[in-house]
């Protein structure tokens, strides 16, 4: 029985079906806000769903030079990992008792798998631009993981525990991490790292539609492309949720706090969309220097402040 419940949780709520629906709605918010920033009207709310359904009906092409195992399997692996991260985060937020020791670290690990899947998929596509995108994605992964982990460590040092439960309970009694100096600094670093993790401008170097024609996505068509896009949509749900859990007291579906939870989520999404819309794409060496220089320094300062109790 227990196993069936877990599988249901993974596949339906709060796992795949729920995460995909909310993630796709989030990509709509992204496109709509982008359109309003540019004085356009923007697509209707069902646009991401129409895109996904359409892609599942299209022809699937495996290029002659591609290795089909890596090319077709990797989107599925990435989707499974993104769904797992989403399931863990939702379960912990809805019922902190489901937390286990070190689940922050597990989640951090799982959240890198979609990027690694894209790297392997892009390299397996047999397209030079795909390989270029994959190599850039890899460099970007090395660049943003360091400050992101240290930003997360800030909260862990402050709370003194590796489990989401302790972090949520601590923030319940002592106020959100955002109320402290170290929390604010780590929050800013985490938002910028999320920007790179989701492949948004200014760090969309690996996908760069106008420069390398989609990079790692270039050879995907039909159903695999739909899965890659679902993957991004779910990560779009996971990253803000992770940041809220770590720095802003988590989300809950109980009573009036459901409203503040949704507001927190939408606020973080809108911040990310605004960063996306007001910046040009940077070069990969700029991105690496940015993350290993100023961002690393900022997050290190945040961690030292947290250790000193600020």
């Amino acid at each position: 029985m227990q196993a069936v419940m877990y599988i249901l949780k993974y596949l339906v709520f709060p796992g795949f079906v729920f995460s995909a629906a909310v993630g796709l709605l989030t990509t709509w918010v992204d496109r709509k806000v982008t359109a309003r920033v540019q004085y356009r009207v923007g697509p209707p709310w069902y646009q991401p769903f129409a895109d996904t359904v359409k892609l599942f009906g299209k022809e699937v092409i495996v290029p002659a030079g591609a290795r089909w195992t890596g090319f077709l399997l990797m989107p599925v692996v990435g989707l499974a990992a993104a769904t797992l991260a989403s399931t863990i985060l939702w379960l912990v937020n809805l019922n902190p008792a489901t937390s286990f020791v070190g689940d922050t670290i597990v989640t951090l690990y799982i959240m890198t798998i979609p990027a690694i899947a894209l790297i392997i998929g892009g390299s397996a596509s047999g397209n030079p631009l795909g390989a270029l995108g994959a190599s850039r994605e890899m460099k970007l992964l090395f660049a943003y993981e360091l400050p992101l982990v240290i930003a997360v460590l800030t909260t862990i040092v402050k709370v003194g525990s590796f489990s989401f439960e302790k972090i949520l309970v601590y923030q319940e009694y002592n106020g959100a991490m955002l109320g402290s100096v170290s929390g604010v600094i780590a929050f800013i670093v985490a938002i910028l790292c999320a920007q790179a993790k989701l492949g948004f401008v200014p760090f969309d170097i690996a996908e760069a539609e106008t420069e390398i024609a989609g990079g790692t996505h270039i050879e995907y068509s039909g159903a695999p492309l739909a899965i890659v896009r679902l993957n991004t949509a779910i990560m779009y749900l996971v990253m803000p949720l992770f940041i809220i859990t770590m720095f802003w007291g988590g989300v809950t579906f109980v009573g009036w706090r459901i409203l503040t939870s949704i507001l927190k989520y939408v606020a973080i999404v809108v911040i990310m969309v605004l960063i996306k819309n007001t910046n040009p794409r940077v070069r990969i060496d700029h991105a690496v220097r940015f993350f290993w220089g100023p961002m690393f320094a900022l997050s290190a300062v945040a961690m030292i402040l947290a250790a000193l109790g600020y």
Binding site: R31, A35, Q38, Y39, R40, V41, G42, P43, P44, Y46, Q47, F49, A50, D51, T52, V53, K54, F56, G57, K58, E59, V60, I61, E209, T210, A213, G214, H217, I218, E219, Y220, S221, G222, L225
Partner: protein
């Protein structure tokens, strides 16, 4: 009509190929994405890779060097794909009809579903053409 075809009508992704056009048509295509016309309202997006496309928008009179490339692009497209010949040159080679390096028009080599005439076509004409080609699905 199947569900995925219905969805295709709501989200046609366009890939644009220039086969030797003078760039005027290409500027008009970008006009459709500006606030005044905003074709993203109807789900139309310009994509960077032919593998993502549902509509192949071809401008230009088709020069000798472009012909093999155009054939490859058409073969690389995931079906179902709709082909739209764009501008006076795309439809009937325009003023380049008698040029030594023009081998067009496009519909001599690949099946074309719609023609959007004009030099260059107005954005209104482009939107009307896209609607008509989607109605042939």
């Amino acid at each position: 009509m199947s569900l995925s075809l219905k969805a295709l009508k709501k989200s046609p992704w366009v890939f644009h190929v220039n086969t030797g056009a003078c760039n005027n048509c290409d500027i008009e295509i970008l006009d459709c994405l500006t606030p005044r016309f905003d074709v993203e309202r109807f789900g139309v997006v310009l994509v960077g890779s032919i593998r993502h496309a549902d509509v192949l928008l071809i401008s230009g009179p088709l020069t000798q060097n472009c012909l093999p490339r155009l054939r490859r692009v058409y073969d690389a497209a995931p079906k179902p794909i709709k082909v739209v010949a764009f501008g006076a040159c795309g439809c009937r080679c325009g003023i380049f009809r008698d040029a030594y390096n023009t081998v067009g028009p496009i519909d001599k080599y690949i099946p074309v579903d719609a023609y959007i005439p004009g030099c260059p076509p107005k954005p209104e004409t482009i939107i009307s053409g896209i609607v008509k080609v989607l109605n042939t699905l």
